[in-house]
């Protein structure tokens, strides 16, 4: 097992934290639990913000989590290059924290939807996608009620121009996201937000396949090579 340590933040209302930790372990790194109220990253080499409904998300998804004590440490660290992956609610928190552009709003059909989703990995240069081949098509579950990615026209064209769309929905767009966007990255490529759940596609037994595992092995490879 590698000595790389990947932190998984638990906010009250986080749901997929142990799934993310399991994915880290299957990628042969150490999963380190991080607590929302503890303003300390405990020296981890990368951080995952898992899915769920942080603080109930009764206000706006991710809006309260953005102010959690642990985020006050994470935000500057991410700006300084720490690899950070936000999945679903984590993506929403990253947008609320302005580590990623755009926002995630209520799905177009107003329903929560859980599906096995076809995706195309568009950018394999990020910290979290280097183990995919460019344009690779994968199947990864998507499950959200507020997963519709939106951004203003200038931001959208910048994202497209700079190749910062990490993954795109293929076939049915499950939530009405602009440009079928399923995930985006920051300019440096260390921060990735993703609406689908790669941690639910890491074992043949429990998922639609293992197409999600490379997200977790990618960051590990980057850490080992760093």
């Amino acid at each position: 097992m590698s000595t790389a340590r990947v932190g998984v933040i638990t906010f009250p209302g986080s749901l997929d934290d142990r799934d993310a930790a399991r994915a880290v372990r299957l990628a042969e790194a150490r999963a380190v639990p991080l607590w929302h109220a503890d303003p300390d990253l405990h020296g981890v080499d990368a951080v995952i913000l898992p899915g769920g409904f942080s603080y109930g998300d009764y206000l706006r998804a991710g809006a309260i989590a953005r102010f959690a004590p642990v985020m006050q440490e994470l935000i500057p660290a991410a700006r300084a290059g720490l690899p950070v992956l936000g999945i679903c609610n984590g993506f929403q928190v990253l947008c609320e924290s302005h580590l990623l552009p755009g926002a995630l709003i209520r799905n177009e059909n107003l329903h929560f939807g859980c599906h096995d989703q076809r995706l195309r990995v568009e950018n394999t240069e990020t910290a979290w996608t280097s183990e995919y081949s460019p344009g690779q098509e994968v199947v990864i579950p998507v499950k959200n009620g507020e997963g519709r990615y939106v951004a203003d026209a200038a931001t959208l064209s910048e994202l497209e121009r700079e190749g910062r769309v990490v993954a795109r929905y293929l076939g049915v767009n499950p939530n009405g996201s602009m440009n079928d966007i399923a995930g985006v990255t920051n300019e440096a490529g260390n921060v990735v937000g993703l609406m689908p759940h790669p941690e639910h596609a890491i074992e043949e037994l429990t998922g639609p396949g293992t197409d999600g595992l490379p997200f977790f092995t990618s960051v590990l490879k980057r850490l080992v090579n760093a």
Binding site: R18, L205, T206
Partner: protein, 752 residues
């Protein structure tokens, strides 16, 4: 006293023996009220009346069903697996490697009609807390739902709300929803059924019980603050028939807060792991009344409570209202004085309000005070366990014989079997329920091995708990019920519900172990309904005994009727099973070519209560399919053996819609079609609903070994998997594309 001049204290009650009390308005009969006076030797205080009225309501006391439910105990089969049986919050079953599972199903029918979203949401919340109170981590939910006709206007109000409520609450708790049912029938139009099941996992030496032993131990109320939610809900909402006034009841449905429940789950598990809980009880129907009386009755026998210490969301609440409030997301724990600090520390970590409100005593009395004044002083067992018991009269319905004589054998049969298959496949009861199940998270926690449309939900056991060891085991669960069968013959109908759930668990390769049930019926005061109930319980108890699967608990829901018209009698039965190596599970669907498709079991001409008679003719009559429990058992043993040896590519139980639907669904779930030949009369072979049957696809090379294992069971070779169509030789073929279009378009067309 000056701060609360109009409190009806115990001393005041003694001084004013003849004061008129609103017992009838609280749903209490005169003789029940007289009995309370006899128990107390005086008239009850208003708070005591509140306690007795909710605890003796049908919902809490099972007063009309108790005499029948006893059979689940007296006829219980010997079982090494049963760790906790009926009478606790939920039964607990040993699944091996030191692991145990607890599971239970409960109704939230009436609230879900009044306010579909919150009614269904709080139904999930309530059953999850039942599971938590056994010391378990809740790990999955499923829902058994029944509505009026799919295209009825009110169904379009109720169904989307119920589904969104289940999803909104369950998804926020991080519990995968792994199965269940959605059934449409005219009889549920004014009275939908919303039955929620929860499954929990615990170490078998860590079971918690609802008990308050040890005088001096502290009573802690934790979770949400108490507000004016569902006051009187237990006795008013859950026991009154719907009529024109139901709109006025909207405010009495509780409102759920799934975020608090999620935090409460994590908080409880940390409390259990720290071993600072002596006894625990959730607050459900009848709230503080129920928790205090039940804990005290099962413990040392006494408890002193300062009711004015209960944290309130609404400071104007009176003590009677606090006692009856059904505010959600609350728990009550009994904690030793030494552990109180640690208990409070853990609650503080999770920002969970917790308050010591009382103490265990050995007085044999439940005593409550309100700002120093004694307002309750009762023997707790008289409220919790010694409620009234009614042996209500029952009689076979006058139309039962005529109904059974109305044989479906004479119904016109179709010439075009291809069209008939598609008609059934697209009918609301058989059509894809993806519109519903896609609104539920099936993946969270990462242990879901099988979920809808598999016959049973299947979970890997993989939890982090003190003393835990890794396990290869999996737990399978399925719920089933058929109101039409039960209407035609309630004794057989309940057995058929059990048989199907049992078969579904067997279909994935698991060994059925234990049973939970939710018995949904009309008014017990109607002798014909009571007969249906008595027959169904007798049938279920007998069948559980024969199949060797004990009933571990459940729930009775009476008064499911609109005006004087009862719903179809609907016992919903949940069966839990275990598979020793979860990687050996058998999947649904033809996922590979070249497997041998076999029909296991015997097909007879059985159309009474069938989906075909319902869809094609709107017909209900005759007798339901014959029950053959010995055959069910042999079939289950065969499936477990074949799964363990890895002989099967796929399996699917035969039930509603018969072989036709099983074949179509197997093509739809996998990627491949199949080419089959029917052995006998095509119509009967395709659509009969004979029981104890299974469709399997045997892996190439495993045929002879499977045949050896199947000795003694009727096996009919139908054909092979492969191609992109369902091909019935000499009759018709339907492409998977057309099957899918027919199967998946029905519900979206109605509800989108």
């Amino acid at each position: 006293m000056s701060s609360a001049p109009h409190i009806d204290s115990v001393s005041r009650a003694a001084e004013t023996p003849d004061e008129r009390q609103p017992y009838a308005e609280l749903g209490m009969k005169t003789d029940e009220y007289v009995r309370v006076k006899h128990i107390l030797g005086r008239r009850p205080t208003s708070c005591e009346l509140a306690i007795y009225s909710v605890m003796w309501s049908e919902h809490c006391s099972y007063k009309s069903s108790k005499v029948h439910l006893r059979q689940f105990g007296t006829k219980a089969p010997e079982s090494d697996a049963l760790l906790v049986g009926m009478g606790e919050n939920a039964g607990v079953v040993d699944v091996g490697d030191g692991w145990a599972v607890t599971f239970k199903i409960e109704s939230h029918n009436h609230p879900s009609y009044v306010e579909p979203y919150q009614g269904a949401a709080t139904g999930v919340g309530g059953i999850v807390r039942d599971i938590m109170s056994m010391g378990a981590r809740p790990v999955a939910v499923m829902d058994s739902l029944r509505f009026g006709p799919a295209d009825a206007p009110d169904t379009r109000r109720v169904l989307p709300g119920v589904v969104a409520g289940i999803g909104g609450y369950g998804n926020s708790l991080g519990l995968p929803n792994i199965g269940g049912e959605v059934v449409f029938d005219e009889s549920y139009l004014g009275n939908p059924l919303v039955n929620a099941l929860c499954l929990g996992v615990l170490r078998k030496d860590q079971i918690k019980l609802a008990t308050a032993p040890g005088p001096g131990n502290k009573v802690v109320l934790f979770g949400n603050r108490t507000g004016p939610d569902g006051i009187g809900g237990a006795s008013v909402l859950a026991s009154a028939t719907f009529d024109e006034e139901s709109q006025a009841k909207r405010p009495s449905v509780q409102v759920g807060d799934p975020f608090t429940e999620k935090v409460l789950i994590e908080c409880c598990l940390e409390l259990f792991a720290a071993d600072v809980v002596v006894g625990i009880q959730d607050l459900g129907a009848a709230g503080v009344s129920c928790a205090t009386t039940e804990l005290a009755a099962k413990g040392t026998g006494g408890m002193d409570v300062r009711l004015d210490l209960v944290p309130l969301r609404d400071e104007t609440l009176r003590p009677e209202e606090i006692l009856m409030s059904e505010s959600q997301e609350r728990m009550m724990a009994v904690v030793t004085p030494e552990d109180v600090d640690r208990f409070m520390e853990i609650c503080a970590k999770w920002d969970m309000p917790a308050t010591v409100i009382g103490e265990v005593t050995d007085t044999g009395r439940l005593r409550m005070t309100w700002h120093g004044e004694l307002i309750v002083d009762i023997p707790p067992g008289t409220a919790a366990d010694e409620g009234p018991v009614y042996d209500r009269p029952y009689s076979r319905p006058l139309d039962q014989d005529e109904l059974q004589r109305r044989d479906p054998a004479g119904l016109p049969r179709p010439d075009d079997l291809r069209a008939e298959l598609l008609r059934l496949l697209g009918s609301p009861n058989l059509a894809s329920k993806e519109w519903v199940t896609a609104q539920y998270d099936r993946y969270v926690r990462g242990n879901t091995v099988l979920a809808t449309p598999a016959d049973a939900g299947l979970l890997r056991i993989d939890e982090v708990m003190p003393g835990a060891e890794p396990s290869t085991r999996g737990v399978a669960i399925s719920t089933d019920g058929n109101g039409r069968y039960t209407r035609l013959d309630p004794y057989a109908g309940a057995q058929l519900a059990l048989a199907e759930a049992y078969r579904n668990v067997a279909a994935v390769g698991a060994r059925p172990l234990a049973v939970t049930n939710c018995l949904n019926f009309g008014s017990p005061e109607d002798p014909e309904v009571m007969w249906q109930f008595a027959e169904a319980v007798r049938g279920l108890a007998d069948a559980c005994q024969t199949l060797g699967v004990p009933v571990t608990g459940g729930n009775v829901s009476f008064y499911n009727q609109t005006g004087s018209t009862a719903i179809l009698p609907t016992p919903v039965v949940g069966v839990l099973g275990v598979i020793d190596d979860v990687t050996n599970r058998v999947r649904p669907g033809f996922t590979e070519e070249g497997a041998t498709v076999l029909l296991l079991g015997e097909t007879r001409e059985e159309f009474g209560g069938s989906e075909w008679a319902h869809v094609a003719h709107g017909h209900l009559g005759g007798l339901p399919p014959a029950v053959d429990l010995a055959a069910e058992r042999r079939l289950a043993e065969l499936m477990a053996a074949a799964a363990a040896e890895g002989l099967l590519l796929a399996s699917h139980d035969l039930s509603d819609g018969g072989l036709a639907i099983a074949l179509a669904e197997s093509c739809l779930t996998g990627r491949y079609g199949c080419r089959v030949t029917l052995p006998a009369d095509p119509f009967v072979t395709l659509f009969s609903e004979s029981t104890a049957r299974m469709l399997v696809a045997v892996k190439p090379g495993a045929e002879s070994r499977f045949a050896e294992l199947a000795a003694g069971i009727a096996v009919t070779e139908l054909g092979r998997t492969g191609g992109d169509a369902l091909v019935i030789e000499d009759l018709f073929e339907i492409s998977i594309t057309e099957l899918r279009e027919t199967h998946t378009s029905t519900l979206p067309a109605i509800f989108d």
